[in-house]
Symmetry: C2
Subunit: 452 residues, 2 copies
């Protein structure tokens, strides 16, 4: 949700635009943080976007703002700019942000812009564009402090003083003569060390490192677990090629959480506004089809019980109630198990005990709601009707809780990501098994009481 601060900022920008108070607007833009401006841009139309962007003074400021904007807003601005201007802007951006920007543009436009860049820059940006966006290579930055290990502190200080902006200027990575990563020195050590000390004698030689193809989720896990502010990325011969900084890791963690929430609901994986309606529809077809298929199975099963359903129409009237309880119970268990496995809270030697506990929770709830259902049926019709509904409820909720608990675990045993046991999959399977078991149990009971 928008904070009050953001809302006020958006309103002010719009008012200044309407009154044509460009000088004031320019001043406001100058003193607002790029991350806040990026939120304002979400509320502007296409023309306004370009107008406001052009009012931002200074190439540096524009490059910083461009790096913060959403991909679709970036392309809206860039496609209308002269190519030389874009190239000048891109050259000013960090290589990682430039690579992201160009990666979102049409092939033709991005190669034209790359051609305008100086050779060195275009090689760097193109190199980064070669990594998959969800890997360490895709999120690493290539501006960092890096010195040979035999450099002395006084020399290091000179280099740092003359270096321009670098990300995460809190660590200096040390390399040997072959460019191999050999250690890390913190800025605090540099502050307190004597000027003639060599970096080699200060550095921490045990540096966890990742490869450019390491999955970003794995990178986030490492950074989060060991409380690192940055992690170096090395190629196959241990040559330092970039670092992943903790602020990008935060974005990864948020992104992955969004992906999990949408995946679980069976509605695709990401939220980007640019996504076409067609793509969104297609994203949801697999899980809806799963429900359709499950429904078709239920249809087939229920067809065998048409006479019973006509006779005991009460059973039909509680379908939404019973199926709703079963599916919810299943989704509760599966969310618990899936999140538990992925955060590591569930696992290890006591997994089977934890699983039994989750099943106990499910069965207790099944019992509770069966008793309520018994009362419901009894109050409405008769004790026999009550027992019938109670049996149906217990079977369905019990099945639901077993499916929700065991399906993700089974997938994990098969070394598959448990998250493919999405809510729709869990729900469809629960529907089928609930109807199957429920109808067998209810019809057995009906036969038993009419026989008795």
């Amino acid at each position: 949700m928008q904070s009050a601060k953001t809302r006020i900022l958006i309103e002010t920008v719009q008012k200044l635009m309407q009154t044509g108070a460009d000088a004031n607007l320019r001043r406001l833009l100058g003193k607002t943080h790029a991350a806040d401006l990026a939120l304002v841009f979400r509320s502007l139309s296409g023309t306004e976007t370009r107008e406001v962007f052009n009012l931002v003074a200074g190439l540096d400021e524009r490059a910083e703002l461009m790096g913060e904007l959403d991909p679709d807003i970036q392309s809206r601005i860039v496609t209308r700019m002269k190519r030389e201007d874009v190239a000048r802007l891109v050259a000013e951006m960090g290589a990682d942000e430039a690579a992201d920007l160009l990666g979102h543009l049409e092939e033709e436009l991005s190669s034209a812009i790359l051609a305008e860049l100086q050779a060195e820059e275009s090689i760097e940006v193109e190199g980064l564009m070669g990594y998959a966006p969800d890997t360490a290579g895709g999120i690493m930055v290539t501006d960092y402090l890096c010195l040979e290990e035999d450099v002395r502190v006084e020399e290091a200080v000179r280099v740092i003083r003359s270096s321009g902006h670098v990300d995460m200027a809190f660590y200096v990575y040390t390399i040997n003569e072959f460019g191999h990563l050999v250690g890390v020195v913190s800025m605090r050590q540099l502050v307190t060390a004597s000027p003639t000390t060599s970096l080699r004698s200060l550095m921490e030689p045990n540096v966890l490192r990742v490869r450019p193809d390491t999955d970003q989720e794995e990178v986030a896990r490492i950074v989060g677990r060991y409380n690192y502010l940055a992690i170096p990325v090395v190629d196959e011969s241990n040559v330092l090629i970039g670092i992943v900084t903790i602020d990008d890791v935060i974005d990864v963690i948020r992104e992955e959480a969004t992906e999990d929430i949408l995946k679980l609901a069976g509605s695709g994986e990401d939220l980007e506004e640019v996504r076409s309606i067609r793509r969104r529809v297609l994203d949801r077809v697999p899980s809806l089809s799963m429900l359709f298929l499950g429904g078709a199975f239920c249809f087939a099963i229920l067809s065998g019980y048409i006479d019973l359903l006509r006779e005991k129409v009460l059973l039909v009237l509680v379908f939404p109630l019973v199926l709703g309880l079963a599916a919810t119970s299943a989704v509760q268990s599966s969310s618990f198990v899936i999140r538990g496995l992925s955060t590591g809270v569930l696992g290890g030697r006591w997994l089977s005990r934890q699983v039994l506990r989750e099943i106990r929770v499910g069965l207790l709830l099944a019992t509770l709601y069966s008793v309520i259902a018994l009362g419901f049926g009894f109050g409405l019709e008769s004790s026999e009707a009550g027992v019938m509904i109670a049996i149906f409820t217990f079977c369905s909720m019990g099945v639901g809780s077993l499916v929700g608990t065991l399906l993700p675990l089974g997938l994990m045993r098969l070394r598959t990501d448990p998250i493919i046991a999405t809510h729709p999959v869990v729900k469809a399977l629960t529907h089928v098994l609930s109807v199957a078991l429920g109808m067998v149990a209810v019809s057995a009971w009906v036969r038993w009481i009419s026989g008795g």
Copy 2:
């Protein structure tokens, strides 16, 4: 899921314990990172936990490990230790971690331990225990570098050299004579500045700050948006009382994602293993009761159509299919909207356009599956049956997509957190409205064809 590395570590520890190779085990523990050891502890039994903990050499190492352990494992160890020993351990831990540990223990035990601490330490720890755990005060640390603004760089370097371990030693906060926060200097600036410069002339005076009662989610948003590594916490008179570091923010973001996933499924808010079965059952009762209530409404509505249901029994057989599709469609839309609102991807001036787009996606899917349902009914029985099922499907899925989109938005308009539109709430409402609208439409159609 456990990584291969963690699995091997756990197996090695267990093998060394079984063979009684204490010396080897001690050596392994000595060279393993506390964060990795914490994962091993999850797989140990109560007695093993204490045995292995006692094998960790050095108070420092023990304090670090204790800080990484899960709360239930902490209490398992602490409750069997002598109070003096616990006090010595607690004194060695960071005040924030000590406060978390004591906060999880029985009141009596924690006050006994506080009594053993030195006055200064116990005041600090008790102070932190007073903040709610999900606020800036609850997650801040109190060890940081902080100097008066008129201190010179050379003096600052001396202080830093003599200071022990502090968290996030990359910033030095500057205060005035009243202890008010006035600026921040980075370690990099200290490295490159001349020794006689005062901190005042180096410092960045515009420092975003939070109050101890700021919600941790808000803190995470600020740190994430501006890419800060730490954010200072000040009291009502701008006196610096702590800092929240980015590594703790990462934990907050993960925690909040877990909370969202579980809340959406209606199964409580957190995953902690210690939670009793009773608490887990109670956590799920509200959402299951919502489904029960919805089911009871559906029962009442369907009761009005008993004759129709008996006559057109095909309708009954597709209940699981149609309700499953409707509920899934609703949950897909609501997940999209809720996550979009909370990450800020949805919002601003184009919100209504984005909402219309989401509804279009829902209606397109409703049309698609109605056509499939038409074919299904036609293939199984007759074109009339097909139309009947198609009408039911379209109404239900259409209702589902409207409920899923509009309910979270409505809640936001009412300034309520949209996440209370959990899957169970959305599902229950969808069931009731689907059944209501579906039965009205189907019975109208049946009347129309039998009349025609």
